[in-house]
Amino acid sequence: MSHPKLASIFNKDEKRVNWHDKALWFVRHKRDLSVHQVKGWETLRNLGHGIKAHTLSNLDNYLIQFEDNALKNGVQVHWAANGDEHNKIVHRILKENNAKKVVKSKSMLTEECHLNPFLEADDIEVIDTDLGERIVQLAKEPPSHIVLPAIHKNKHEVDELFQEHLGTEPCNGDPQYLTHEARKHLREKFIEADAAITGVNFAIAETGGVVVCTNEGNADMGAHLAPVHIACMGVEKIIPKQDHLGVFLRLLARSATGQPITTYSSHFKKPRKGTKMHIVIVDNGRSEQLSRPDFRASLHCIRCGACMNTCPIYRRSGGHSYDATIPGPIGSILSPGKDLKKHSTLPFASTLCGSCSDVCPVKIDIHTQLYKWRQIITKETKQPFVKKKSMAIMGNVFSKPSQFERVGKIARWSLRHLPKSIINSKPNAWGKARDLPKGPKQSFDQWYNQRQDKNE
C-alpha cells in the first residue's frame, strides 16, 4: 500500500496519532537539550560528514584493510553480495557450530535481509533481545523505528502481549514490572544460547575491530556468553581510524535519545579465549547507491533515528506507514534505490521542510535527496494521468503570461461564484477538511495596472 493510504489509516485514530507524535517529539526535545550543550556541535557534524565522505571515496581499500586486521585478530571474515547470501553464510556458521538457539541484538541489517524467517525455517530459534525488538517479535510485526522499535505500541498492548507469551501478571502496563519480567525471560535465553548475532555500529579499518552500542547490555550478554559471535555489517559501517570513534560516539547517542553516550559502547577486537568470532560484510545494494552521486551521501547514515523523531510526517503516520525496513526520511532516500516502484510514494511523504537535514549528525542532505528522487520517480514509474497532465498544463500556463492571466481570472471567478458544495466536492482533496480562499475580484496585476493608469 502507498504511504498516503497507510498514513490515512493511521490517522483514523487521532488520539493515537497525538500520543505517537508527542512520544517522538519528546525524544527530539531531549536531543535538543543535549546537543545545545555541546561546544563545537556543528564542527562535530561537519567532521562526521567529512570522515564518512572520505571513507566512501576510498571504501574498497578501507574494507581490505579492515579485513586484513580482523583476520590478524583471529576473526573470520565473510562477504555477502546480497541478503540471501548473508542469510546463507549465517546459517552455515550456525550449522557448523551446531547452534540451535540464537540470541540477536539489534541489527537493522538482519531485518533488511529477513534473517529471522530464514533461520526459523530450519528450526533455529532466533530471539531478539533488545526489549523493543522482542516486543515487536512477539507481536509478529516489523520494528516501526530503528532506535525505538516498539514506539508504536502503548504499554497496555505490551502488557497483554507479555501476558500471552511470557505468562506475566496483568499489571496495568507498568513499564518497570514489564521490563523486569523481560529481563528474567531473556536472561534464560542468554544463558542457553549457542550463538549470538549482533549488528555493528562502527568497523575500524585501522584495527579490524567493531563497536556495538546498546543501552540494555543485550549485545554484550549475548556475545560474551555464547561460544560463537557473528557480527553483521553493511559495507558502509567502516571508519578509517579508532580516533574517529571520538567524533561518532559523541554524535550518535545525543542525536538518538539525548543521552551523552549509550550505556555500553563495546569494542570487539579479538575473540575471547576458546570461542569464535565471525564478521559478515554485506553489500545488498549499497555499492549501487554509491554509484549515484546525488544519493551516495545516504550511506553516511549512522542509524541514530533523529530524522524520524524530528519528521512531522513520520510522527503522525507511524513507522509502518513507510512499509520499508528503514522508515522515515532516511528510509525514504534509501529505499527507492532498492526498489523504485515499490517505494515510489516515499519521497513524496515529505513537505521538504528540511528538519531532517538539519538534525542529521552526519549532515546528509536528506530533503534535497527527497526532491531529487521525486524527479526520477515521475520519469521512471507510472504516474496518475491526472497528475501528469495537470503538471504539463500548469507548466504551459506559467510559461506564457497571457495564458496565466486568463486562467487566473477563471479561477478567481469560480472561487467567488461556485457553491461550496461544488468547490469542496470529492475530487478536491483540499476541501475535505479545509476551506479554499474566497476569490478576490481583482488580481494584483489588475490592481497594479489600475494604479499605474491613475498615476499617469
Binding site: H3, E42, F348, D358, Q375, F398, W430, A433
Partner: protein, 251 residues
C-alpha cells in the same frame, strides 16, 4: 538600486492584498520598485511535485523578467528559495546566475539589505510567528531549533519594532505547518493533522494573529481555521509591517 518586485502566482490571483502591502511597504521605505508585467510563477509547484522539466518554461520566463535588477524582492521565502536552489536545471547564463544571486525574501531584504528594523508600523495584537520552512531552513532567515549556534530571526527583528504587537512564543517554535505544495492534497490526512496541531499550538499560547513569510502556509492554516471556526486570523507579515492600526479593529 534597481529593485524588481516578484509577486508569486497564487498571491497575484488569490491574495492581491499581500502584494499590495508588499509594494506599499517598500515604497514607504523609499525603495523604487518596478513590477515587471510579464511575470507568472517561479516554477516551484511543478518542480516539487517531481516535474522539474515542466517548470523550465516558468523558469525562463522568470529570468527574462528579472534579469536586469540589482535586487528581486518577493513576499515569499519559498519562491525565493526555489529560484536560488533549483534554478540549476536551466543553463547557467550570466542572467540566470544574476537572478539566483539577487533574489531576496521581503524581510531578508529589509533587514539585511536596507538595514532597517523599525518600519514604523502599528499593530496592536498578539502575534504568533509561523516560521515557514523554506525561509527558515532554506534561506536561513532565522536560526532553527535543530542547529546549534546563535539565535536570530529577521522576522522577529522586524515584528519586535511594530508598535503594539506582542510576540507570543510557541511550544514547537519551528515545526512545519503541513502545507508542502501538492503534499497538501496527496498526503491530505497528514497535511490536515499537521495544520491542526500547528493552529492548536498558536491557540494554546494566546495568539490572535498568525503571521508568516509565506501565504501558502497561511492559506492552508486559514482553510483549517475557517472550516473549524477557530478564533484566529492569519496575515502575511507584509500586511502587519504595512499596518497603521492604533487600536484593535472590532471583528
Amino acid at each position: 538600486m534597481k529593485v524588481g518586485l516578484f509577486i508569486p502566482c497564487y498571491i497575484n490571483q488569490l491574495y492581491p492584498q499581500v502584494g499590495i502591502a508588499t509594494l506599499e511597504l517598500l515604497e514607504k521605505l523609499n525603495v523604487e520598485v518596478t513590477y515587471p508585467s510579464g511575470q507568472t510563477c517561479c516554477g516551484q509547484p511543478m518542480a516539487n511535485s517531481g516535474y522539474e522539466n515542466e517548470s523550465i518554461g516558468a523558469c525562463n520566463n522568470f529570468v527574462s523578467n528579472f534579469k536586469d535588477f540589482d535586487y528581486i524582492v518577493t513576499p515569499s521565502g519559498s519562491c525565493a528559495y526555489h529560484v536560488k536552489k533549483h534554478y540549476n536545471i536551466i543553463n547557467q547564463t550570466h542572467d540566470v546566475k544574476n537572478v539566483r544571486n539577487n533574489i531576496y525574501e521581503l524581510c531578508d531584504f529589509i533587514v539585511n539589505i536596507l538595514k532597517i528594523k523599525d518600519v514604523g508600523a502599528s499593530f496592536p495584537y498578539k502575534v504568533g510567528v509561523h516560521k515557514s520552512c523554506h525561509g527558515l531552513r532554506g534561506l536561513r532567515l532565522g536560526s532553527c531549533s535543530e542547529v546549534v549556534g546563535e539565535r536570530y530571526s529577521s522576522l522577529e527583528d522586524l515584528l519586535k519594532e511594530v508598535k503594539g504587537t506582542e510576540l507570543m512564543s510557541l511550544k514547537r517554535t519551528d515545526e512545519c505547518c503541513g502545507f508542502g505544495g501538492t503534499f497538501a492534497v496527496t498526503e491530505e490526512a497528514i497535511s490536515v493533522k499537521m495544520g491542526k496541531d500547528k493552529i492548536q499550538d498558536h491557540l494554546n499560547n494566546g495568539v490572535e494573529v498568525i503571521t508568516a513569510t509565506d501565504t501558502s502556509c497561511l492559506m492552508h492554516l486559514e482553510g483549517l481555521i475557517a472550516r473549524n471556526k477557530k478564533p484566529l486570523k492569519v496575515l502575511h507579515i507584509a500586511e502587519i509591517l504595512n499596518s497603521q492600526y492604533f487600536t484593535k479593529v472590532p471583528n
